[in-house]
């Protein structure tokens, strides 16, 4: 057994105070090494020619790009807050009828992949779109353009505000109502109380949800690309496609990676400093605020958001499916695309579930050991990076390896890197249910280690491992940028099919696969919300 010093023996738990066994160390090292390939290759490739790198980094256009992207992310975050905070307050603190249903429906826009949402907005509001078609008889010849900043902001806000909504709700629900009552007895009004008592307490949730939205806005590829908004991801993709500029693309991707990791680091730091006092212990739910006549504007607000973020996308897609059916193009080449999607995502799910086992074992059985933590942090790298960045980095890494370059293997590898932590999380929860003493009891009863694994550990943890795999499957199937970059030639998935059809405005062809993706994401959302409960 290898002896590694314990960083924090106290937290290591009673039963396993030893260092991890040899196979776990080997597996952990391999996972960490592979996880670090994308950042390392980005650095290598970006600084292949230091002069060019410096030129790109110091270019005026790069600065503009940086400012534009950050301003964009900030705008989306502010807009998402303006939707999520009132909606969360209505659900948790008001007497609005149907607030339970609003709480559930409010999270559903997450089921619309943002590029699918963007495509429906374009086909509805764009030039010669559905809205203009409706208005033409009235003499409207041109609508204000949906493309660019406005469209990208609208689409991303509508499909990312649920991240904030979901973090704000529990925060609002656990603010101790006695604190508010105290403030009211001092003579402060409702608004003043909200600002001085409630807001400071939900600030951590606001920060972490907001950072999540900002990270998404910065990393998303499909929406800015379809909306022709020059964000980081779109610029990088265009430079990458124009084969001469690949070095530039790497430098910009590195810059984006640094931005993304910075946001994640801020989020993690802010979470670790979050105070745990002020947690409600009165056990009494706050008295709902009576809205009175204000309930009508409240309903109006909720209906508008749901109309734009849910009803419109689904209605547009259904409309195009029907038109596609009439024109006979709806099912064009959908069959093999489905098979491609299912097989790539299935392989990724199985691979991620297998790779997650050693990480989860290290995290659960050797909690607090520096080695466990390092492996885990490394395995998060891909999850924190934009899919486009991971895809590019793997292209650079594999370009001289023809057997790997543009193979299904590297695509699956990218998927595993991007979504591994989803599998790790589920597996860890499952393994926590198997206490070490259960395995020891089984061995004491005369069963070998392999038999114990088969009769105790796997039956108890198996369901969690499967749930992790399912989650990876469902997330992988809608992944766009890495799939675009790494797919073998001619290999199309549901996501790339939606992409290629909608970039050519062949909406009737895009609609059916897009609708399928919405359905699949909806299932993913259910799995996720079921899995995180308890």
């Amino acid at each position: 057994m290898t002896s590694l010093p314990m960083l924090n023996r106290r937290s290591a738990g009673r039963a396993r105070r030893h260092a991890p066994g040899a196979w776990l160390i080997l597996a952990g090292l391999a996972i960490a090494a592979v996880s670090l390939v994308p950042p390392v290759y980005l650095v290598v490739r970006a600084f292949e020619s230091v002069d060019t790198a410096r030129e790109v980094l110091l270019a005026r256009s790069t600065l503009q790009l940086l400012v534009r992207s950050l301003a964009f992310a900030a705008t989306v975050t502010v807009c998402a807050t303006l939707i999520a905070l009132p909606m969360a307050w209505l659900v948790e603190r008001s007497d609005l009828r149907g607030r339970r249903a609003i709480g559930i429906v409010g999270a559903l826009p997450l089921a619309v992949p943002s590029y699918v949402g963007a495509l429906t907005f374009i086909s509805a509001f764009g030039p010669r779109g559905l809205l203009q078609g409706l208005l033409e008889p009235l003499g409207v010849e041109r609508l204000p353009s949906i493309y660019g900043w406005v469209g990208a902001t609208l689409a991303l806000t509508m499909f990312t505000y649920p991240y904030l909504f979901l973090t704000l709700r529990p925060a609002l629900a656990t603010v101790d109502p006695r604190l508010e009552e105290m403030s009211r007895t001092f003579g402060y009004g409702r608004w003043r109380t909200f600002r001085s008592v409630v807001l400071p307490q939900i600030r951590p949730a606001l920060l972490s949800g907001g950072l999540l939205v900002a990270l998404y806005a910065l990393s998303d590829f499909g929406t800015p690309a379809l909306m022709r908004f020059d964000s980081f991801t779109r610029v990088i993709f265009i430079r990458y496609q124009s084969a001469f500029d690949r070095g530039n693309a790497a430098t910009l991707a590195l810059l984006l990676a640094v931005l993304a990791l910075t946001i994640v680091a801020i989020e993690v730091l802010s979470r670790s400093r979050r105070r745990t006092d002020g947690v409600r212990d009165s056990g009494r739910p706050p008295t709902p605020v009576a809205l009175g006549r204000w309930r009508w504007p409240a309903y109006g607000f909720v209906a508008t958001v749901f109309g734009i973020a849910l009803v419109l996308p689904v209605a547009v897609l259904v409309h195009w499916v029907v038109r596609g059916l009439n024109a006979g193009v709806a099912f064009r080449a959908v069959d093999d695309v489905i098979w491609n999607s299912v097989s790539a995502a299935g392989l990724a799910a199985v691979a991620a579930a297998v790779v997650a086992i050693p990480i989860a074992l290290l995290g659960v059985r050797y909690r607090g050991h520096w080695f466990s933590r390092s492996v885990e942090v490394a395995s998060y790298t891909g999850y924190a990076l934009p899919g486009l960045v991971v895809g590019l980095a793997l292209v650079f890494a594999a370009i001289r390896l023809p057997w790997l370059y543009q193979s299904l293997t590297i695509l699956v590898l990218a998927y595993v890197m991007l979504f591994l932590p989803q599998a790790t999380g589920a597996t860890r929860v499952a393994l926590l249910r198997v206490r070490p003493s259960m395995e020891e009891a089984a061995r004491g009863l005369g069963r070998r280690q392999t038999a114990v694994m088969r009769t105790i550990t796997l039956p108890l943890a198996g369901r969690g491992v499967m749930a992790g795999a399912a989650l990876v499957f469902l997330t992988t199937i809608k992944e766009l940028p890495a799939t675009l970059i790494l797919s073998p030639p001619g290999f199309q998935t549901l996501a790339t099919r939606v992409w290629s059809a909608s970039t050519d405005a062949r909406y009737a062809e895009a609609a059916l696969p897009a609708l399928m993706l919405v359905g699949i994401s909806g299932v993913a959302l259910l799995v996720l919300s079921y899995g995180t409960r308890r």
């Binding site: 314990m6 023996r9 009673r14 039963a15 105070r17 030893h18 249910r433 206490r435 003493s437 259960m438 020891e440 009891a441 089984a442 061995r443 004491g444 009863l445 005369g446 069963r447 070998r448 009769t455 105790i456 039956p459 108890l460």
Partner: protein, 344 residues
């Protein structure tokens, strides 16, 4: 039938290291077949690690270990837990949540025609009849504990190990469950070793007790020997209540609040141990003042400051000196123990 003259466990100089700490040092023990043996000590004294070495979950750094005639550890040998025929009852019971009571109990039994018969035999022994098809989480704490015991006993282990088996039980249940467990273990005829930090538990249930302190066994003896003739200050302090005076001895004598006593010849620092019940109210005894009183119902403890300055606690009957404070005179029922004091 177990042969009472056979040695079930023989440990010689077992040492075990956990991380950087030496958890168990030089553990030597002999446990007779059929005996119910307790390892008693404060938390962190190495008692659970000792138990885990016996079970095969920890590997000793040095020393050797025999279970009956088989060597299972030491001299380069390390028999894995599944080949030791040792049953273990864990503190958290470690029942398998995906199995019923009967499936849990049958887990350690080989697939054979006698399997079901053995399960029902053990179910009967442990009083679990009619609970066989229940899911484990539907049971009460006491029932779960009996399932854990039944599961461990089912494969007829040569040795049964119990790790703090009563600590997860409601205090009001403990005394009854303790008696039940002792009866079940004795009926099964299995040699058993119990680890506990609860002196009352060890004294009431065990045939013999090993007292551990900081990784070492300091004393082995019957409950009566351990309580009334502790060999170290730690044992005297940990087990039961005691007035302890750390004093300097001179020429084989030590001056105590109760007069001169003989001290071990070479000892310079000694500890004089007087149990509160070894003192009594006695006319013409040593004079003092009662300064406080703890009333327990079945008896009470008086805190007394003697005229010579020493403070002492005295256990008296529930009806004595109900007035509390005031003058008192005390005498000894028996000669106090004088033990060599160890430097901490």
């Amino acid at each position: 039938m177990p042969d009472p003259f056979r040695i079930a466990v023989r440990a010689q100089g077992l040492t075990c290291r956990l991380g950087d700490t030496l958890a168990v040092r030089d553990l030597s023990l002999e446990v007779q077949a059929g005996e119910l043996f307790a390892i008693l000590g404060p938390s962190g004294c190495g008692k659970t690690t000792s138990l885990r070495m016996l079970a095969g979950f920890e590997q000793p750094e040095s020393g050797s270990l025999w279970l009956f005639e088989d060597q299972v550890a030491g001299d380069g040998l390390m028999v894995p837990p599944e080949r030791r025929r040792v049953g273990m009852v864990f503190q958290d019971y470690a029942l398998f949540p995906h199995m019923t009571v009967a499936e849990n109990i049958a887990y350690g039994l080989p697939k054979s025609p006698d399997r079901a018969a053995r399960v029902s035999e053990v179910v009967e022994l442990t009083g679990l009849t009619s609970l066989g098809e229940r899911a484990v989480h539907e049971l009460s704490g006491g029932e779960q504990q009996r399932v854990a015991l039944a599961r461990a006993l089912a494969p007829r282990p040569r040795l049964l190990l119990l790790d703090e088996p009563f600590s997860n039980l409601d205090p009001s249940l403990r005394a009854r469950v303790r008696a039940e467990v002792r009866e079940i273990v004795k009926l099964s005829g299995t040699t058993a070793i119990l680890v506990t930090h609860d002196q009352e538990e060890a004294l009431s249930i065990a045939d013999r007790i090993a007292f551990m302190w900081r990784g070492r066994v300091e004393q082995v003896g019957t409950p009566d020997e351990i309580y009334s003739r502790p060999e170290t200050v730690h044992a005297a302090e940990f087990i039961g209540d005691a007035n302890i005076y750390r004093l300097r001895a001179e020429r084989g004598q030590v001056a105590t609040p109760f007069g001169f006593l003989p001290a071990p010849p070479e000892a310079e620092r000694v500890a004089v141990v007087i149990r509160p019940e070894e003192l009594q109210i006695m006319a013409g005894g040593l004079g003092g003042e009662v300064i406080a009183r703890e009333y327990y119902g079945h008896d009470q403890i008086l805190h007394v400051r003697l005229h010579n300055g020493a403070e002492v606690r005295v256990r008296v009957g529930p009806h004595e000196r109900l007035g509390g404070a005031g003058p008192i005179a005390l005498g000894l029922r028996s000669q106090p123990l004088v033990l060599p004091a160890v430097e901490e």
